[in-house]
């Protein structure tokens, strides 16, 4: 990965053409369907015997309580971490966070960075930034490693390379790293492990994410399966953790409920292979661990979400990915179609705040509001309600609720606004409605056989000869 790579920036506005492409790509369709079916059944099995509703309620309350005290908790976290010897940095946006990471690297004369999986670093576009600064950043999570080899972005927040099957991964590794072509998953994994081990030993800095930051004890919790997170945070002499400001929880007890929900919701595991609790740099009498530990707390739009009592619920998210695993839209079009760091339902409610509703104007409407996401969310984020809220923002709010999300009003067109006004006018006048529907049923033979995009896939519904209103009036109702 030493050659300079073009950053695979995807234009979020090109949602429909990408959806078209994905829907007509049998390999993509099959890869996602198979993977999502597997994840859904694993989750279901993992919660068997649990009182899931009570646990979700607990998880939601833990997150709500943390968010209610967010400013205080962040101050407490900073104080505790500082006492523990961890340096805390604050970044208003992704660029500032990147500059902080760079400055730490430069101060240490670091040339290579090894990374554990971190969606916030994806949000920051950290790899691309470091590369421009002459610092090599290598992903060590297997999925992220594959995505990086392919010069792509993650298509899922937990399983970044879920869009690829074994055959595709084998060819990619063969081409980029010289491994043999093989469908033997163990061989491929062992090969990647070997390649990564060398990098771990030589990396100057390790960058990781954080799942939960515990304010009371100043502990950074990291959930992972491959051991790469532990290596990233212990082998290099400097560890930089990056995370969103919403990840803080009051105390360690809160972690147990969220961890139980996270691993089961994400991968259907009762516990992950590794659970790291990082509470400071190497002490004088300790044999290993980094000399320096930093935490970069990234805002990047979160504090503006925090200002709104309803949108605030977006920040409850613990990044398990269950909403995308259960989303019928995500399953059909795959993660790359969204063109955003976070795809799927959580992406649709989070990304508009990060990139603006003008950039992400197709996101809130790309849902049938089926509610599967809200049903499985371990912290009970009312995702469908938030989608409707963002749809209102997209058409510039209403009389009671002036729009406030950045880029609001981007979906409002004079024609559509006029259509809804007309529709509303007719449906608020019962006499007019009855006359209109009666006339429509009388002249139903004139009903066109085509009805826009509807009839591209379906026949048009047929008007009945007599409306229910008429039939009941004749019955004397």
């Amino acid at each position: 990965m030493s050659e300079a790579t073009q950053h695979p920036h995807i234009d979020v506005k090109e949602f429909h053409p990408r959806a078209h492409e994905a829907l007509h790509n049998p390999q993509i369709r099959q890869n996602f369907r198979k993977a999502m079916d597997g994840l859904m059944s694993k989750r279901k099995a993992a919660f068997e015997g649990w009182d899931l509703e009570t646990l979700r309620e607990l998880g939601a309350n833990v997150r709500l309580r943390a968010l209610a005290n967010l400013p205080d908790l962040l101050e407490q976290l900073e104080q505790k971490l500082t006492e523990n010897g961890i340096k805390v940095h604050w970044a208003l946006d992704g660029d500032e966070a990147c500059r902080i990471v760079r400055d730490i690297c430069v101060a240490r004369d670091a040339k290579t960075v090894i990374k554990g999986k971190s969606m916030v670093s994806e949000e920051m576009e950290l790899n691309h930034f470091l590369e421009r600064e002459g610092i090599e950043a290598l992903e060590s999570d297997l999925g992220e490693y594959i995505v990086q080899l392919a010069n792509e972005t993650p298509s899922h927040i937990i399983m970044p390379a879920i869009h690829k099957n074994t055959g595709e991964i084998s060819e990619l590794m063969h081409e980029k790293t010289g491994t043999d072509l093989s469908h033997d998953v163990e061989y491929l994994t062992a090969a990647a492990r070997q390649q990564l081990r060398e990098k771990f030993m030589n990396a100057d800095v390790g960058v990781s994410g954080v799942n939960f930051a515990v304010a009371e004890t100043g502990t950074l919790c990291l959930v992972e399966n491959e051991g790469n997170g532990r290596m990233t945070t212990t082998v290099p002499r400097c560890h930089i953790a990056v995370t969103g400001i919403e990840k803080v929880v009051p105390n360690l007890e809160d972690v147990s409920a969220l961890l139980a929900l996270l691993t089961r919701s994400a991968t259907g595991q009762h516990i992950t292979t590794y659970f790291n609790m990082i509470s400071g740099p190497r002490k004088a009498d300790e044999l290993d661990g980094p000399e320096e530990v930093h935490l970069v707390l990234v805002d990047n739009g979160r504090s503006s979400i925090y200002q709104d009592d309803e949108l605030l619920d977006t920040l409850r998210c613990i990044r398990c990915g269950a909403c995308m695993n259960h989303c019928p839209v995500y399953t059909r079009v795959g993660g790359h179609t969204y063109g955003t760091t976070y795809p799927g339902p959580i992406g649709k409610i989070l990304m508009p705040h990060l990139i603006g509703l003008d950039e992400g104007r197709h996101l809130p409407s790309a849902s049938s509001l089926c509610g599967a996401c809200g049903e499985v969310c371990p912290v009970k984020i009312p995702i469908p309600d938030l989608l409707v809220r963002l749809r209102r923002e997209s058409v510039d709010g209403d009389k009671l609720h002036p729009a406030k999300v950045r880029g609001h009003g981007s979906k409002r067109t004079p024609l559509e606004a006029a259509i809804w006004k007309c529709w509303s006018w007719m449906h608020s006048r019962p006499g007019l409605y009855r006359t209109g529907t009666r006339l429509a049923s009388r002249f139903r033979k004139l009903q066109p056989g085509r009805a826009g995009a509807w009839t591209d896939f379906r026949t048009a519904p047929k008007l009945a000869g007599k409306t229910l209103h008429e039939q009941l009036r004749e019955r004397g109702k």
């Binding site: 959806a19 019928p328 509001l369 058409v395 529709w423 608020s428 006048r429 019962p430 026949t459 009945a464």
Partner: protein, 259 residues
């Protein structure tokens, strides 16, 4: 935070019937079937002629002023404290779940919450309030069932349809794979994102056909229009009807047919 626990009313003498605009214009037979099923239980059904639409299409499109004026026109139609039954999980869910939010901080706030609290999905009402006992008069047949997402998740009636069908001795209910997955209708979603919606309904139709059943029933006319429309256009050997039409046809002495 938790979903409110359902407390069913005792069996009333009268109910209001909110027919929904799709049933009114496209599937009045389903509405008539629902009314006849209620009447057979000895319940008087009142149909306010001034009803139009619950306002959902504008609501989910983000046009909340427009949705609110249509919804407000429905609020005054149910003056007595009788239950309001709705032959749709989707429109029922709109009133029951979303009216309180839609009218929050308006002079109609209390009224909306009061009306919302009286709304029941019709099959749920038949099973759990009327405690209906169905006597199957039809020939042996096999059907699949598609419960709409709103019936399942907003109105919490996923168990109701199968329980009612289970009362019909000559009806075998088969379940399609991924039964709980959306059919791709989603109101304006189907026209805003036609290809994604098309891919969803395609898989739903395949799943239904794979059960071997040649007929299916559903709680909602949006899903019915979507699934039937796709099956018809692409000549798949399956056709559906509203569960109320099916239940009435199977148990009505004049006409023990049903599909």
């Amino acid at each position: 935070m938790a979903d409110p626990i359902k407390v069913y009313p005792s069996r009333p003498e009268k109910v209001y019937f909110f027919g929904t605009c799709l049933i009114d214009m496209f599937y009045p037979d389903a509405g008539m079937a629902g009314i006849q099923l209620l009447e057979r239980e000895g319940i008087e059904v009142i149909f306010p002629q001034d009803q139009t639409c619950c306002g959902q299409p504008a609501f989910t499109s983000g046009y909340h002023d427009e949705a609110r004026s249509v919804a407000r026109a429905q609020l005054e139609l149910f003056p007595e404290d009788w239950p309001i039954v709705v032959p749709s999980g989707s429109c029922g869910g709109m009133i029951r779940k979303h009216y309180p939010d839609l009218f929050k901080d308006t002079p109609d706030e209390l009224k909306a919450a009061e009306v919302a609290g009286r709304v029941w999905e019709l099959t749920d009402f038949l099973l759990n309030v009327c405690h209906v006992k169905l006597d199957d008069l039809g020939e042996p047949t096999t059907v699949a069932m598609h419960t709409s997402c709103s019936a399942r998740r907003e109105m919490g009636v996923a168990e109701v349809g199968p329980a009612l069908l289970g009362q019909l001795n000559n009806v075998t209910l088969v379940e399609q794979v991924r039964a709980e997955e959306c059919c791709g209708f989603g109101g304006t979603f189907a026209v805003r994102h036609p290809e994604i919606s098309g891919a969803m309904v395609e898989e739903k139709v395949e799943a239904l056909v794979d059960t071997g059943a040649r007929a299916f029933v559903t709680t909602d006319c949006g899903c019915l229009m979507n699934i039937n429309g796709f099956a018809e256009k692409n000549r798949h050997p399956i056709a559906g009807k509203h569960i109320l039409s099916f239940l009435w046809e199977r148990t009505n002495e004049n006409k023990g047919g049903g599909l």
